[in-house]
């Protein structure tokens, strides 16, 4: 009897739970974004304006996001992959064509971002933030030249055994290929062999291969790391010894995009979100939190003053040519990169 009672209670609880989640489906939005990358104020503003409940789940890398969504049954409406991955997402049939390029706020897009190579006419993507990948060093531990990939590919004595390498395959492979002198997205086996050997030789000199750079750099847990510019900016605000280096051998410029998934359950709310973030004030909110640049005209006046002259957001003139826009590499090249990467992470 007791058992039946407990069972019926459980059943009814489940029913309530299920029906509740069904009822909320009209006013819900499930966002899947990078960790520590979404301004809670932005979410709150969106929730109030549209009467929608937003859930935020985070991931650490493009590969994890792709893997999770591809596995199916993920429950997300919106994901924020990097531009170089967008053609993959489109090719795998994972995206819904919501045509942000035709939305009301599309007029605010900066001209050079209106019709990017990875998504002509902006049929799928709305811009989130863009930035560069380089190295972050604590000058207390090392005061030499930081504008080089040698920080992690061939660490100087003071940093040996103390460098962290963020396990973002596309960025690291790009930096490593540039370091040995190859072209981005190359599938040249001789070049890649050099890359593989260099990485494998450098790995014993690394401390770890983990995320959480902003916190660990500001607290001093890490004194050097491969890092993104905005994250370094935030670390510097807490620990002024941290500087950002633009590797002169070559560094990737990436741009994260907001897309709606084909099997999204809350399509209207998702479209509303894409439009929402193209407003200058909201784009400024996004940038102010993570400290990266955005692609919306007129947002500069709403952003914090220290972002205007920040070294992390203004590439020094002599290093501008070293930056290359991260592109999607061919499947053959990707296969080789994955093979090298797995050899490295084992």
């Amino acid at each position: 009897m007791k058992c039946k009672l407990i069972a019926s209670v459980a059943m009814s609880a489940m029913m309530i739970g299920l029906s509740a989640s069904a009822a909320l489906a009209e006013g819900q939005l499930n966002i899947f974004n990078w960790g520590n990358y979404t301004n809670p104020e932005l979410i709150k503003k969106f929730e109030e304006q549209f009467k929608v409940k937003v859930t935020l789940t985070d991931y650490d890398s493009n590969d994890t996001a792709l893997a999770k969504v591809r596995a199916g049954g993920h429950g997300y409406d919106i994901v924020v992959p990097s531009a170089s991955f967008i053609p993959i997402w489109i090719g795998e049939g994972l995206l819904l064509e919501t045509n942000p390029g035709g939305m009301e706020n599309a007029k605010n897009l900066q001209d050079n971002w209106k019709s990017p190579e990875f998504d002509p006419g902006r049929k799928y993507t709305a811009p989130w933030q863009w930035g560069t990948t380089g190295v972050a060093v604590n000058t207390g531990a090392y005061s030499g030249d930081v504008n080089t990939s040698a920080i992690f590919m061939d660490p100087p004595k003071e940093l040996e055994g103390k460098v962290n390498v963020v396990p973002e395959m596309a960025d690291i492979m790009g930096l490593a290929i540039a370091y040995v002198g190859g072209e981005p997205c190359t599938a040249d086996k001789t070049v890649l062999k050099k890359v593989r050997d260099a990485l494998v030789a450098a790995k014993p000199k690394w401390l770890s291969m983990d995320y959480g750079t902003t916190e660990k750099l500001s607290s001093g847990d890490w004194v050097a790391s491969v890092n993104w510019n905005g994250s370094t900016f935030r670390a510097r605000l807490k620990n002024d010894k941290v500087v950002y280096g633009y590797p002169k051998e070559g560094f990737p410029v990436w741009a994260d995009q907001v897309v709606v998934l084909k099997d999204a359950k809350n399509v209207d709310n998702a479209k509303a979100f894409q439009n929402f973030i193209m407003e200058p004030e909201n784009a400024a909110l996004i940038s102010a939190f993570a400290r990266y640049a955005n692609a919306i005209k007129g947002s500069a006046e709403f952003m914090p003053a220290d972002m205007k002259d920040a070294p992390e957001l203004n590439i020094p003139a002599e290093l501008v040519s070293a930056g290359y826009v991260s592109k999607t590499c061919s499947p053959e090249a990707t296969e080789l990169y994955t093979a090298i990467w797995t050899e490295l992470t084992k």
Partner: protein
């Protein structure tokens, strides 16, 4: 019952048949009673393992997932490795080194917990009846607290800015922090901390049943404390030691959270390697094959325990 009259024998046979029928009925009812539990477990625990076995024989998809074509590449990759550039085939020493690290660290964890757990269990077992439940309770509580919390607690202790380093620096013993985090040692420390109660409890169960008259006899025969320990106590509590070792070794082998947080992504254990295949590694068949390998190793360890336990004449648990 054997000298019953003829009619009685009749009724005995039919009574016996009725007995058999009742027994069969009873067994069937028991199976029915057990069926909901079995259904849930088959659906959400055993069944998926079979699916995973199937997946280990499929081809991997380019961006994750599988292509439904038969392939033994997954199993091949577990043990062997084709160099990307020379096309030479050799042992996958990266995998093998991870296997070896997992076994090595699990073994070290087991030894460490044994060294600490044995005296502790002995201490509790030799306390008065009143105090024993209290101590047992104290040992069990950390076990029921969240694994994450415990790993986090250890992390706070051994970080560069953590308590251990701060105390050592304040005492003047070292000048700059010792790097404990992100090493194999940190992982072992974390696992030993997490699984210590699992060693103490079976040891205690064995020691509680220890007949101290044997110990007293040993002393009467002029044995030293060390001899009594070595020749009387340890052999008698061996079942508990084996049970505790298995209870620590098996979860350590499959540990995932602790190495992930304390190892910094560079020192992978088997659990992390498996997870990698479902993320950046984009190689589900390999991940499935590795999981099955882990399962096999664990089953072998368990089998060893069961055979050992029954050989020493201990009634198996339950």
């Amino acid at each position: 019952m054997s000298d019953a009259p003829a009619t009685g024998t009749q009724s005995i046979t039919s009574g016996a048949q009725a007995g058999v029928a009742a027994r069969r009925n009873d067994v069937r009812n028991r199976w029915l009673l057990a069926s909901p539990a079995l259904t849930i477990i088959v659906f959400a625990a055993l069944g998926p393992l079979l699916i995973m076995l199937v997946y280990s024989f499929l081809q991997k998809g380019l961006y994750g997932g599988v292509i439904w074509k038969f392939s033994t590449q997954g199993w091949f990759d577990v043990f062997f490795h084709k160099d990307i550039f020379d096309d030479t085939v050799g042992f996958a020493d990266a995998h093998l080194s991870i296997f070896w690290r997992s076994i090595r660290l699990s073994f070290a964890t087991t030894i460490l917990t044994l060294l600490i757990g044995f005296p502790t269990a002995y201490f509790i077992a030799t306390k008065s009846e009143k105090w024993r439940p209290v101590f047992l309770f104290l040992v069990t509580i950390p076990f029921w607290t969240n694994l994450l919390i415990r790993t986090f607690a250890i992390m706070e202790l051994i970080k560069n800015e953590g308590v251990v380093n701060s105390v050592l620096q304040w005492a003047g013993l070292i000048t700059s922090p010792i790097q404990i985090m992100f090493t194999d040692f940190a992982i072992m420390l974390g696992m030993a901390y997490v699984y210590l109660p699992l060693m103490v409890l079976p040891l205690y169960a064995s020691m509680e049943r220890l007949d101290f008259r044997l110990v007293e006899a040993g002393y009467d025969l002029y044995a030293t404390r060390w001899q009594v320990l070595r020749k009387i106590i340890i052999p008698l509590v061996k079942p508990g030691m084996i049970a505790g070792s298995i209870l620590v070794f098996v979860p350590s082998l499959g540990a995932y959270v602790t190495p992930r947080i304390l190892g910094g992504g560079k020192n992978l254990m088997l659990g992390n390697l498996i997870e990698l295949q479902f993320g950046q590694g984009r190689n589900w068949p390999l991940g499935a094959a590795l999981s099955i390998t882990l399962l096999v190793i664990v089953m072998v360890a368990l089998l060893f325990y069961v055979r050992n336990a029954s050989r020493s004449g201990v009634k198996s648990h339950g």
